[in-house]
Amino acid sequence: MHTLKYALIWALMASRAFAAGGAAPADGAWTMPAKDYASTRFSTLDEIKTDNVDKLQVAFTFSMGVARGQEAAPLVDNGTMYLVAPYPNTLYALDLTKPGAPVKWKYEPHPEQASQGVACCDHVTRGAMLWENKVIFNTLDGHTVAVDASDGKELWKTKVGDINSGESTTMAPLVVRGKVLIGNSGGEFGVRGWLIALDANTGKQAWKAYHTGPDSDVLIGADFKPFYDTDKGHDLGVSTWPPDAWKTGGGTAWGWISYDPDLNLIFYGTANPSPWNAEQRPGDNKWTAGIFARNPDTGQARWFYQFSPHDLYDYDSINENLLLDLTIDGKPRKVIARPERNGYLYVIDRASGEVISADPYGVVNSSTGVDLKTGRLQYNDEKKPEVGKVVRNICPTAPGAKDWNPSAFSPRTGLIYIPHMNLCMDWEATPVNYIAGTPFVGADVRMFAGPGGNRGVFTAWDPVARKARWETKEDLPLWSGALATAGDLVFYGTLDGWFKAVDAHDGSLKWQFKTGSGIIGQPVTYRGPDGHQYIAILSGVGGWAGAIVVGKLDPRDKTAAKGMVNAVTDLKDRTTAGGTLYVFALPK
């Protein structure tokens, strides 16, 4: 009965996803990091399943040439695999039709060296997007590049960000109806967040929507119909800030974008307000730490909801939005399911922006809940940071109950698979000066394991029943994405390099493999030119969680890497820097 219900939903969803993709790629392809516009990271391939996964073995490997954090998703189409390395962002095309998948071509964008100094959390990239025989990706120094997928020739290159103001670009672009959507990174540098749309054929700017400032800059017009009253009003992006603070107010968009072709809306979250020290920016700080629904053609906003008004703890709201069609209270609802950094799993009506439910999926004491009438997060006054005061034991931490690393949804089980963390922190707000191009943070933070002592958790969440179905404790924080397949398997990796396959129904470990370095990447699966299913993952520790290893940071300073080092002091002894693609398949 249960399976039947979800099978139906899945069929609906799948049809939408493919209809949206234009010339629908065979399901064996993987053309965008989230697999589909609904961001499910679910593949219908089922050759590898629970009863044969233990035979999985390495098919081939490839060195990325950079021993830095590998957060990107490998992309596959037309017998070719496309890989983007962290800075210097070399793009490799591997020929899957030949044995050992040799390099077909490579493209070197030569980004500015100095851009490494404005990348808050390692020199990562979260991948590329394949669209109409183009590979489109961002370089760390604020450029978007389109490369011909057949021969690696540069088609266009557009400068979208300025490193001298602290901007970088780390996200994977998303192409929707011929528009390349890119947001900036740099919320720790006091940049002003935006999302830009470039014409996918020419690289020319179509529109640009800022996330602070007057309505005309935010592209808020007559179509804007937010659900909650607090988001209604004129120029809230100015009036919810101290004078001029919105100009350095953050609200970047470095995470994930989803797209619903029926509503013709894109959904994406905005990051933390700058600086972290909230005393320097009284007010609700719109439109940071919230989610926008926009028309992809014009950029005009449809609705907005703020997860963390006047964010106190760097709870960026850039996490993935899974577009699901669920039956809630007997009614079919088109929703966004979203494991948010502030620790709640939100289920939001994606047409109206109404919060249907918000339940903690990890340990939360920084707030007491979400008021579903007003939609407002209820902060816990006891944990409110103040300048000159160390507030202890705040959960979740600055990287949130879950950071950028995306979850997956399997329509076969109806569960969302969330790789996340179980950390708490001490926080001292400090006065901070805005000096363009230097960090604008204003908080001394040290993080440590949350209740139970395990620093990571892998949770299978039922968004209808609003509870966790099963949980697996992991010693280290989880910083890798998840992948769900029709073989009822879920894949994820750990910071010390284990790549795991677990049963989608009960979380039991079915297979694991120790890769060369810690895993913070996004697993994908594809059907090779030989017709068989492959699983691919990049291994290479880094990012915020792995900064202690790649940055050779000193754990004697508990505030190193904004406090993350203190939570993973043992990581240096458990893994080393690396950068290798691993591809697995069943033996032939």
């Binding site: 020199h123 160390v390 000193d554």
Partner: protein, 187 residues
Amino acid sequence: MSSHCRNSGRLLFILCVIVYLCACDREKREYRTAPLPENGPHAETLSALQPGASAPPASDPRGREYENNAYHINQGERLYRWFNCNGCHAAGGGDIGPALMDDQWRYGGNIDQIYATIMDGRPFGMPSFRGKIPDTQAWEIAAYVRALSGNVPKDAAPSRREGMSATPPLSQTPKQPPKNSEQEPPH
């Protein structure tokens, strides 16, 4: 008995004088150094290899003055936060930028080299603060950075850290002389 008293009294007096004299130098404050030309120690080399007979490295005498002076190191600590050095290097443990409290130095760990790194910037993300941070303040920051790895005299290093006290007081930091370091870049 009384001679013992007299002796210890004399000893105490001598000690006081010594402490007093030491203290003079330790906190000597020069608020108004003559405006210095903004051309610090450019003679600094980054390579241990020199063609021909090697000449002793030229070092700027100002460096020694700053790193032996408690007032300047303290000012350096304040400026390190004011100018957001902590944003990239945390309290010395590192973040976007490398750790400063260990013995690894990509561009050299003596005060002249640190001064040059602040002023000139380095290609992998360290901004150049020339024209932004005045000469005297750059020396003060460099002196504080030296203190982070215990490379200043113990009596000049701050004996207390403000705030969350992430690390022990700098006067208790073990001295970690710069070692031969593996070089950037990691890619």
